[in-house]
C-alpha cells in the first residue's frame, strides 16, 4: 500500500490530472460509534466523510460502518476495512483507542486516524478538536445574556473533555459578569433525549436562564423553548432550527477540512503520524451564526473573542487562573500547556461542587 501511495505521489508530481487514478481510487474508511442518524457526534463525522467524497469525487472511495460497539467488534471492523483495501481509516470514538493500535500493528501499510485519544504509532495519528475554544465564546455570550446570573450546564460524563468545556465557559462568563454562578448536572449519557430534557428543566427550575449542553440531543433546546426566556447553544451540529431564540449560537464539529487534508496527504504520499488538536483557527471548531437575539455589542465582542482565539493571539486558558481549591494554576500571562488540558480533572476557582469520581 505504501507502494501505491508513493506511485500516487509520483503521479501528482508529474502533474497529471487527478482523474488519472479513477481506476484505482484511494479508499478511506470511517468507523462510527453511533448511527449516522444521531444528529450529533456521528452525524457530523459522516458530514466530514461526505465532504471528502465531494472534494475528491471519483479519486476517492469512502466506506463506513455505523453503530460499531467499542471493543472486539471495532477491532474486527477495522481489520475488515484494512483487508478490503482501505488506505486510510478514521476511527471516531475514544473507546476505539486500543483496537486502533492493535489493528495498526497488523497493518503497517494502512494509515489510521483515531479521534480524541492519546496513543500514537507510526501509522496512527490522533486528532481532536479544541472545543473548549467554542465553549469560551459561549461562556462570553452566556455571561452577558444571563439576568438571573445562573447558568446551567448539562455535562455528559466527568471526563477531561467535558471538564475543559465547563472551565472554559465559566472563565469567560465570569470575565464579563463577576456574579455569574454555574449549576452543573451530569446526565451520565451522551444521548438520551428524555433525560436531557429533564436535566434542562431542572436547571431552568433552579433559576438558570442560560443552558449550555455537552450532550447531543435537541431535547434541552425544546425544554428551553417551552420555558420561553431561556438561552441555549447548539451542540455538535448547528441546531439552527431552534434559532434565533432560544438557540443563539452553537459549536459545530467540523471535521471535513481535516479529513480532506489527511486524505490528500495519503494521496500525495506525505502522510506522517501526527498529533492534531485544532480549534477555531483551523476550522475544526465552528461557531454557529450568532443570532439577532444577542445584542449587537455582545455579538461584536463575542466575534472578536472568536477571532482572537482563531488567530492564536489569545488562549482560552490564560493566567492568572487558580484551581478550585485556591492554589495557583497559571500565573499572570501564562497559558495552559496541552498536557494539562488533555488530562484536566479539576475545576477552576469559583466553580462550586465536586467532580464526581
Amino acid at each position: 500500500m505504501t507502494l501505491k501511495s508513493i506511485l500516487a505521489g509520483a503521479t501528482i508530481a508529474a502533474s497529471l490530472s487527478t482523474t488519472a487514478f479513477a481506476d484505482d481510487p484511494t479508499k478511506v474508511g470511517f468507523i462510527y460509534v453511533g448511527p449516522v442518524g444521531d444528529g450529533g457526534w456521528t452525524y457530523e463525522h459522516d458530514q466530514g466523510r461526505l465532504a471528502v467524497q465531494e472534494h475528491f469525487g471519483d479519486a476517492v472511495e469512502t466506506v463506513f460502518v455505523e453503530s460499531v460497539p467499542e471493543g472486539a467488534d471495532a477491532e474486527r471492523v477495522m481489520q475488515q476495512m484494512a483487508l478490503g483495501g482501505a488506505d486510510l481509516i478514521f476511527t471516531t470514538s475514544f473507546g476505539y483507542m486500543d483496537p486502533t493500535i492493535n489493528v495498526a500493528e497488523k497493518f503497517p501499510d494502512v494509515m489510521f486516524e483515531h479521534a480524541t485519544g492519546y496513543k500514537q504509532a507510526d501509522n496512527v495519528s490522533v486528532y481532536s478538536a479544541r472545543f473548549y475554544e467554542g465553549r469560551a465564546v459561549q461562556g462570553h455570550i452566556a455571561g452577558h445574556m444571563t439576568e438571573s446570573n445562573v447558568i446551567g450546564y448539562i455535562g455528559s460524563f466527568p471526563i477531561p473533555e467535558v471538564i475543559r468545556g465547563i472551565n472554559a465557559a465559566y472563565i469567560h462568563a465570569r470575565a464579563v459578569n463577576p456574579d455569574v454562578e454555574f449549576k452543573i448536572v451530569w446526565a451520565y449519557t451522551w444521548f438520551d433525549p428524555a433525560k436531557e430534557a429533564e436535566a434542562a428543566n431542572v436547571l431552568i427550575e433552579q433559576g438558570a436562564d442560560v443552558i449550555l449542553q455537552h450532550t447531543d440531543s435537541t431535547a434541552p433546546q425544546a425544554a428551553a423553548q417551552a420555558a420561553g426566556n431561556v438561552v441555549t447553544f447548539g451542540q455538535a451540529s448547528d441546531m439552527a432550527e431552534f434559532g434565533p431564540f432560544p438557540r443563539v449560537s452553537s459549536i459545530i464539529d467540523n471535521w471535513g477540512p481535516y479529513y480532506i487534508a489527511r486524505t490528500q496527504a495519503v494521496i500525495d504520499g506525505t502522510w506522517v503520524s501526527t498529533n492534531t488538536w485544532d480549534g477555531i483557527g483551523a476550522g475544526m471548531v465552528g461557531i454557529g451564526e450568532i443570532s439577532d437575539a444577542v445584542p449587537a455589542d455582545v455579538k461584536a465582542s463575542a466575534e472578536a473573542l472568536r477571532d482572537s482565539l482563531a488567530s492564536g493571539e489569545y488562549h482560552a486558558f490564560t493566567g492568572p487562573l487558580n484551581k478550585q481549591d485556591g492554589s495557583v494554576w497559571l500565573a499572570e500571562g501564562e497559558v495552559a500547556d496541552d498536557g494539562t488540558l488533555a488530562g484536566m480533572n479539576f475545576y477552576v476557582e469559583g466553580l462550586t461542587g465536586d467532580i464526581p469520581q
Binding site: 463506513f64 460502518v65 451520565y188 488533555a342
Partner: protein, 359 residues
Amino acid sequence: MLMLEKRPQPSKAWTLAAPLLAVVLTMICGGLLFAALGKAPVETIRTIFFDPLFSEFAWFYRPQLLIKGAPLALIAIGLSFGFRAGIWNIGAEGQYIVGAICGAAVGLAFYPTESFLIFPLMVIAGILGGVVWAMIPGILKVKFGTNEILVSLMLVYVAEQLLASMALGTLRNPEGMGFPGSRNLAKYDSASSWISENAGMHWGVVAAFIAVIFAYVILSRHQFGFNVRLAGQSPRAARFAGVNPKLLVLVCMGISGGLAGAAGLFEVAGPAGQISIDFNVGYGFTAIIVAFLGRLHPIGILLAAGLMALTYIGGEIAQSNLGLPGAAIQLMQGMLLFFLLMVDVLTNYRLRFGKGATV
C-alpha cells in the same frame, strides 16, 4: 380456515427443515428489502451469508465467527437448562456484566504481578459473580414465589448502573488520563483470555465448546437432564418422580448465571479487553433468542450462535463494501428471527385447511 393440530411427536423432518426454510424466507424478503433500498439483492445476500465463510478473506472472518459466537453459545447453553424446566432467567445480560466486573476486579487487583494462578482465579470470580447475581431471582422465587422473569430483568438495569460506577470509579485505569474505563486486561499476560488472537481462540471459545458437549451429555444421558425435561413437560409428574422443584430452580439459575458470568469474564479479559461504560453489547439478550432458535438443544444452539454471528459479521461487510445502512441489517436480523420463530410451529403442529388435506 387454517387450523393447527398438535402432533403427537415433534416432526423430525421439520426440526431440520424449518430453520432452513426460515433462512431461505429471510433471504427472499431481505433481498426484496435490499432491492427497495437500491442495492443489488443477490450480491447483498451473498455478502452477508457467504462472504464471511467463503470469500477471499474468509481466513480472517472464520475465526471472528468464533469470537462473536462463543459468548452467545456459552450463555444460551446455560439458559437452555432453565428454559427446558420452565424457569425463565432473562437477566443473563446482568449476570454477564457482573461476572465481567468480578473477574476483572480480581485480575486488576493483582496488576502488575505475573502468575499463572491469576487467570484461573479470575475465571472463578467471574463464575461466582454470575451465580450470585442469578441466585437473587432464584432465591426470591424459592422463598417468596416472586416471578423470576421480572426480577432477573430488573437486575439487568442494576448491573448496568454498577458497571458505569465501576468504569468511572473503582476500576478506572489510574493511568488513563482521567478517561473512564479500566486497564486493558488483554495486554496483561497473566489475565488475558487469549490463546491465539489470529485463530480467534480464547478460553471463552474453548469453554463454549466444552459447555456444548457437557450439556449434550447431561441432557441425553444424565438423571439431571431427565429431571429438567420432566419438570418442563409436566411439573406434577416431576414431583412424583422425586424432583425437588426448589432445588431445580436454584440449580438451573446457578448454571445459567455461572455460564453467563464466565462469558462476561472471558470477553472482558480478551476481545473487549477492559471494563468500560458500554462494555455490554446485548449478548445476554441475544443469547435468549439463540437458545430458542437452537430449540434448546446444545447442537442447535451452537448452530444458532454461528448463524447469528454470521449475520453480524456479514452485515458489517455489507455495510462497508456495499454501503448498506446498519438499520437494514438490524431489520433483516429481526426478520430472520421472526421467520425462525414462525416456522417453528410446523415442528409441533400440523397445518390443516378446513377439513381434510394435511400439509
